[in-house]
């Protein structure tokens, strides 16, 4: 039986209905295998590192006068 790689490398216009069904079936099986592994936690997304809370804003020490503009 032709592998998925071999079927995918063929000109798609020449693929028979049976070959399309085989592609679908192979990918369906792969999904079931992955879903089982995922359910068991094998492909669990990594947790994001905890983020520290926002720092308190520093008090403003500058004023418009510091810009040296003639307002």
């Amino acid at each position: 039986m032709e592998s998925l790689d071999l079927l995918m490398a063929k000109d798609p216009l020449t693929l028979t209905e049976e070959q399309i069904l085989r592609i679908v079936g192979t990918l369906r099986t792969a999904r079931n295998v992955w879903a089982k592994a995922e359910a068991a936690g094998a492909t669990k997304a990594p947790r994001a590192a905890s983020i520290a809370g926002p720092k308190k804003a520093a008090p403003a020490e500058l004023s418009l006068d510091d810009l040296g503009l003639d307002l």
């Binding site: 000109d11 990918l27 992955w34 492909t43």
Partner: protein, 317 residues
Amino acid sequence: MTEEVRNTSFSMKLPTMQLAWDSTSLGALKECSRKYYYSIVLGYVPRADSVHLVFGLLVHGASERYNHAKASGASHEQALCAAVRWALVESWDAKLQRPLAVLDDKNKNRANLIRTVVWYFEQFAEDPLETLILSNGKPAVELSFDMDLGTRTASTEEQLTLCGHMDRVAVMNGVPYVVDIKTTKNTLNSEFFHKYSPDNQFSTYTLAGKVAFDIPLRGLIVDAAQVAVSFSRFARGIVTRDEAQLEEFLRDTLLYVKHAEGYAKEGYWPMNDKSCSNYGGCPYREVCSKSPASRDKWLSMGFQKRVWDPLQRRGDI
């Protein structure tokens, strides 16, 4: 000599003024009016296709085939095979007898496209979402809309419209929603869905669905597909818009379009130089970094021309 194709979404009287706006052109204008001018008015786009754009279009196309087949009475298996066959053909370069060169990405390649299509429809085989059937009996899939904005250009008194294409309208628990699929290589979390509120495209869809099709839409259902190297994972999120939000969006849109008319009359589209680094960097940044006199040369050398005409409908209703 090749004759330039006329963009029918633009005014005949003021040729740089767009009259029919879609979310892409409106989004470009909001981002930077100079970017809008280069990409939509002049039609310059980067020479290389974006893998993300092509991959997304192929997933949408496969989904459209599946939903059309299902709405016509096909079984899940028949519809899935039709979608897979379509995706295989469209992602194949028949001349070179190889996958499309643009699909050369470790995540977004041809094999992962077909896997994503199969896994997506397997996951949602028992989908509580049912495609809405329109009053003309056709399934609400790939809907083109062209909605009167209720105002005209000040200078030429031409009608302004909001137009575009929606993938699908489906009903869940008696409530209709626009359904859209978004692909990403990133991990799916709540942040992924938060980025659609506010969002230009989703507000356009909800508004158009309500006004153009008279469907009491509450918002969108987003099917997010994470395309990883060895798996495709999916998550579904609901993005809502209420009446007041849509009114605000319409008001904003009219103001943006008014600005566009001002730019067209002036013959000048100012840069928003605070937006150059967004979304991984603007493709026109290098052009804008040159002295104004040399920019036309940079555009014609580094970009290709295409006509972005939102009035060219993709679907049929």
